[in-house]
């Protein structure tokens, strides 16, 4: 009999609500990484005068990663035994997806992101640059969220320009690359990781691919998925019952448990503006209310104060 996958803890879920990501380093076994890279295929070497985009598109067309229609049940997305089916079958991955999206999630799209080293640009007279920071898809006013799993099948060093993302930006409602003028934001992170690392992202997080200044082609595979049903209380909720009482605010003499849901939700990011940072807290509380199914939940009295006498 197969065991139930390990669900996320309340602290992990609160971290996802507050920061918009969860990172799992080196959790995909090396044989799956090797199989994935074989199925993804190698890029042909740079050739003088060759245009990069057609080379990239041809490689995508010829590799063994399937073309899949949007809306396909995630469980039916990849052939049994393929690297991606094996990856999605890992207990940690199943548990994280179930915790974030509930049962029977739906496949949205996937993509093999390839970042070429300078030799390819030198061969074509072009210039490699970082991708502008953006939010995927389009303006998305929903409170429910999709998840994007970023898979790093080989080790990524800083010169390779791993995914750049800005923790805590996911609750902002922006229009794709309209924010492209922001080159650098305090607290931004660059993925530097060992092979087999997974990054689970809220669909709204601001991110972009970095320029690859190494001598190796960089691969990252992204799968976007969404819930087909309720996302309420799908993680391991037991440790947070019953709801914790309000803690003292502003005039605080005793530090609270940093692993408590309230402490995690009320931790600011380095880029927070002084006034809108408080609105970020409000929006985190609103998202936790939705996920926990508790319309009275609050942290540091932000919502209770606003609702008093309303």
């Amino acid at each position: 009999m197969s065991q139930a996958p390990p669900l996320l803890t309340s602290a992990q879920m609160a971290t996802f609500v507050a920061r918009g990501f969860l990172r799992f380093d080196g959790v995909v076994p090396q044989d799956i990484n090797d199989q994935f890279l074989a199925e993804a295929g190698e890029m042909p070497p740079p050739t003088a005068g060759q245009r990069l985009l057609p080379l990239y598109m041809r490689a995508l067309a010829e590799n063994r990663i399937p073309e899949v229609s949007a809306g396909t049940p995630l469980a039916q997305t990849y052939p049994a035994g393929s690297a991606l089916a094996r990856l999605l079958g890992l207990p940690l991955v199943q548990g994280a997806i179930q915790s974030l999206l509930g049962d029977d999630p739906v496949f949205d799209h996937h993509f093999l992101h390839v970042t070429f080293p300078p030799a390819y640009y030198e061969a074509t007279g072009g210039q490699g640059v970082s991708q502008h920071t953006h939010q995927d898809s389009t303006i998305d006013p929903r409170q429910v969220f999709d998840v994007q799993v970023m898979y790093y099948p080989h080790a990524v060093t800083r010169p390779m320009g791993g995914t750049r993302f800005v923790p805590g930006t996911h609750l902002r409602k922006v229009s794709e690359v309209a924010l492209g003028r922001y080159q650098n934001i305090r607290g931004q992170q660059h993925m530097v990781c060992e092979a087999g690392t997974l990054l689970f992202l809220h669909h709204g997080i601001w991110h972009g691919g970095g320029v690859n200044l190494s001598d190796r082609t960089r691969y990252m595979f992204k799968i976007r998925m969404q819930a087909s049903g309720s996302q309420v209380r799908r993680w391991n909720v037991e440790p947070v019952e019953p709801r914790a009482p309000q803690r003292p605010i502003f005039y605080v003499k005793t530090p609270s448990d940093p692993e408590s849901v309230a402490a995690i939700l009320m931790t600011p990011e380095p880029w927070f503006e002084q006034d809108t940072g408080r609105l970020e807290f409000v929006n985190r509380v609103k998202l936790w209310r939705y996920l926990s199914g508790d319309p009275q939940f609050d942290a540091d009295y932000w919502m209770t104060r606003l609702e008093a006498g309303a």
Binding site: S130, R164, N184, W271
Partner: protein, 98 residues
């Protein structure tokens, strides 16, 4: 009218995003565009800001030419957040060799 001297001038642009509307508030995000072509700046190329505040940029010779407005919050949208709020544009004019 373009003269011989200003034809050699190029604009460097610095955009600072501050933590509130005061020019001496801390920098939370930044961008640099170099019209001389000497340096190619791009997303994610620097993890610490070039100036701690907007005032520090002024003291270093950058000229402020635009600041974002303070707008009231529309009823029903008070908690909606989108783009960074406190944006300040600076420039330097640099002479390049002909």
């Amino acid at each position: 009218m373009t003269t011989a001297s200003n034809a050699r001038l190029r604009q460097k642009v610095l955009v600072l995003y501050l933590a509130n509307s005061a020019l001496d508030a801390p920098t939370i995000a930044w961008s640099v565009y170099d019209g001389t072509g000497e340096v190619l700046r791009m997303a994610g190329d620097e993890d610490a800001p070039p100036y701690a505040t907007g005032l520090a940029a002024l003291k270093d010779g950058w000229r402020l030419f635009q600041a974002s407005q303070l707008n009231p919050h529309a009823r029903g949208e008070e908690f909606d957040l989108a783009y960074l709020k406190y944006e300040f544009w600076f420039e330097q004019l640099v002479e390049v060799s002909a």
